[in-house]
Symmetry: D2
Subunit: 310 residues, 4 copies
């Protein structure tokens, strides 16, 4: 549909970070997650995204995650690594670490915690790109950073070669459409959607690929969805998406009012992967709690209804 050949496309799940009972990185489980995703036919791996509990991991833990994922991926697909930090120098430090550990690209958000301004966000991306010798993707995630990255800001950065693509988790589909149209002629530019419930619709709007947290649980489903959309079989894409929307109900397993949306959502992904035999525990980083036996049973039932083999 577009004149460009995106650098990154297909399904690029934000890889969850399994933990041991003691809260350490569970390297063996993380390797199995990577294997599970590669088996599913993913087009890349996004390490240290929001679904990877990036905001919960110390720099040392983050390094370990990058090392395990790049090792397990072994060059089969590109590994995109989050350098998600409050401001420029901190993001550069993490992006440099990622580069040293074998990342293929890095991802940064707008500054957060502090109040910011369009001109500062612009400089933020330019400074990171100048400091790190890897492609840089912009991550638009206002629910976390409380700033929106508008096409008016992103398209000049793309045209100037500062950013190689965008991961859009903004929920602003009008803005996404304008970005897709504006980036149509930019060679290599990659437009990825994080809206796991409407990947079909966002691909119709112009996405090159998706970054679905739920893709950790059912990579095959998201790959079928992607392939159907690419060949223009929108009915099949829609049916697959509808099935995945039903599967997404696992995030409602946590008893209402007892956990954050993050703990409920990521906790459900981990619990599902545990039930599928991919990872060993569903332990969450503090201060989040893990889902309990009753909640786990709810998730097991949901997986079965969606046709996944528990």
């Amino acid at each position: 549909m577009t004149a460009r050949t995106p650098l990154y496309s297909g399904v690029i799940p934000p890889v969850v970070t399994p933990l041991t009972a003691d809260g350490d990185i569970d390297r063996a489980s993380l390797e199995r997650v990577v294997g599970h995703l590669l088996d599913g036919g993913v087009g890349g791996l996004f390490a240290l995204g929001s679904s990877g509990e990036t905001a919960y991991l110390t720099p040392t833990q983050q390094d370990e995650v990058i090392e395990v994922i790049t090792g397990a991926a072994a060059g089969q697909v590109p590994v995109i690594v989050g350098a998600i930090e409050t401001t420029t120098n901190r993001a550069i430090e993490r992006a440099g670490a990622a580069a040293g550990l074998g990342a293929d690209a890095v991802v940064a958000t707008a500054p957060f915690y502090t109040r910011t301004h369009g001109s500062e966000i612009d400089r933020h991306f330019r400074d990171i790109a100048a400091a790190v010798d890897l492609p840089l993707l912009a991550y638009d995630v206002p629910v976390c950073v409380h700033s929106k990255l508008d096409p008016e800001l992103l398209l000049p950065l793309a045209a100037d070669g500062v950013i190689a693509g965008v991961k859009d988790s903004s929920g602003d589909d009008g803005s996404f459409r304008r970005l897709a149209i504006g980036a149509r002629e930019l060679p290599g530019f990659s437009l990825l959607t994080g809206h796991e419930l409407v990947v079909d619709a966002m691909m119709l709007s112009g996405a090159d690929g998706s970054v679905p947290g739920l893709g950790n649980v059912d990579p095959h489903g998201y790959v079928r969805l992607y392939e159907a959309a690419v060949r223009g079989d929108w009915e099949t894409a829609k049916a697959e998406q509808d099935r995945l929307v039903a599967l997404f109900d696992i995030i409602r397993a946590a008893r209402p009012g007892t956990a954050s949306a993050t703990a409920a959502g990521l906790g459900a992904f981990k619990t599902a992967l545990m039930l599928l035999g991919v990872i060993t525990t569903n332990v969450m980083s503090p201060p989040m709690r893990s889902l309990d036996a009753e909640e786990t049973a709810t998730i097991a039932a949901c997986l079965k209804r969606a046709g996944l083999d528990v």
Copy 2:
């Protein structure tokens, strides 16, 4: 795609309210807008929506608008009328007025200005439905009322026959998808999207029709988009939508920082209709200003680029 036969479908533009130079309802222009939309093949008319400056019109002016639109529509398509008021008794009063003036259905939002609660929103819709003998649609517009109508609230209201449909301007496409899936088996239920920039994507997600403000300017385009989507020709739908996204740039004609998004957007629609010869002035309700000659020239250029005959 669904088991149901929606009561309302197709393109149902939120009809703009033309004003005379003195700020009165310009009845002749409003009749011409209705004619322009009927010529375009619309499936209904939404009177007194946000794009109709409903929040700017006194009750007397609102009555006049309903009267002119229902008169001009003359039963050719259903006329859905906004009863958009802060709370229940006020909305009932306006819904009753609409019923008396020939409306086919009424539309209400969640309570606003005041803080509200799920249980109160639920009662709000139930009380309105009980008081007015017309189908009731729920209008989900958090940018205006600062509450989101979740599927968990709407689907029981639909199942109980309280609401006949939803006009979604929430921008939350995940929620929209869950609503579409949940309402699939409800006979007659109508799911309308207000996201004029992604009507194709929202129809793929399950919308029965659209309520595009920009549809005032180019009803033919939105009708072509709708018809392509209905017959499964998503490439044509997408191309038409992309053209309309470019046309939507008219809302950026207002000089930055000099007007609200409402004044810039509705002002652009009115100015375009004036340039197209449909309405006489582009006068806006106070306290909004009208677009000036320079801004009007920008819009004229944009209309020409989109292939509209100025």
Copy 3:
């Protein structure tokens, strides 16, 4: 402390609107509320404020409220009346009604429901002031209208004679302080705080008076607080305020998660007035529910602890 003689000062409670069991205005109870407040020594009455359920009342009901309050006040204190509507023409219509029914001043907010802009808010107040031959106060209530009225907007309006004062319920005490300092030389300007929990602190900051919802329940307390602050006895003012903060716990009587903050707060004020024998019912406007027997008992206990005679 200031060079000016404020037009309005002292305690000016936002008068609650008692309803009959059928939801009509309870005129006799409303007259008793006015008597109760006058007995308490208030310096004015604010009719049709947020605490008066203004957003819940139809225009006819609003007219009735104005009529009863101005009648019962009988010129003893000024009656300030809310003309709280979405936009300019609608506010002017209500302000005109208030003027015709004996109001001494009117109060308007920024436009709401619709998105707005500083230049439009400025025009909004200027148009209302030009249309109505009564002093106009600006009501800064971002929690309801989602726009903040900054000193940079308000002070020019005050200097130009457009607004005679401000009722501040913004919760932004830095902005309030800057407004107080900026208005110090404006003769007649009245700066009223709606922060019922920190009236002492806001008077130290420069308020001329207060508009406390809780003042419906305990006008004597707020008047003692005011008088202590005026004579510079801040320890007494603080002690009185601390007692009133404890009394304010009545708003937590509603069972958590079962009502909006508005229903819980105004419901508590009405229930307290019912327990004090001032009004007949604690009926709330739809879609709010009334507090029940158990919640009423909680409030009764709280009133006793605060030394009020139930």
Copy 4:
């Protein structure tokens, strides 16, 4: 006014972090800032607060700041150090570093970037307190972390000895008052306000001290304000506060629309300190720009008007 003897009281400025032209920590300037503040009579120093550009500094830079400040303070006043990180393990890591570098207490916010929940915020503070052998203060700063710390959450933490105090920058003065009343009997508990424009009012409400960013520029003024309030001379406190509000206008020196509020505010503090001869440059951390010559001249004029010797 209260039964307790707060552990921390008086003026405890959030120390700015001077940078060299190359963006490194300017150790000599930072030592002079500490000397300037000690000369002013401050009761403590808050290192690595929002005004210290904490969100802009790498861990290595943060360590250097702590080392310089604790060294320069040399035990004359307590040094409270921010461990402001997205989540628990990261905050513990920074709190541990602070403890090792001589901090007297640490300060943490609610988790940010990620979505969170009351139960998780509670565990967050408990885990940090358990891991670090220093008093812990909770920093309530919703403008940065987008969660509010309510008295219902804080008071149990205080009663359990988890937190030794609160630094309130919430702008919610009603909540602050309820916290002050609720903590009245807790020995040692310290309630500090960050509302630099209304320190007098917040001390009347029950604050034990203040953490004013502007206190970097004029510590003597804030100390005079504090001492007047402590002795109950509220007129003097108010007059001093009013003078400081005028001085605070330096934050409006940045040309409108060209910088974030953070860059404008902290940039003004740094520029003022440069003009006062305390620090060498007004360089800001990327991606913020420094104020330029024209903006610096505006600040110089403002300092002179406030009686500061430039």
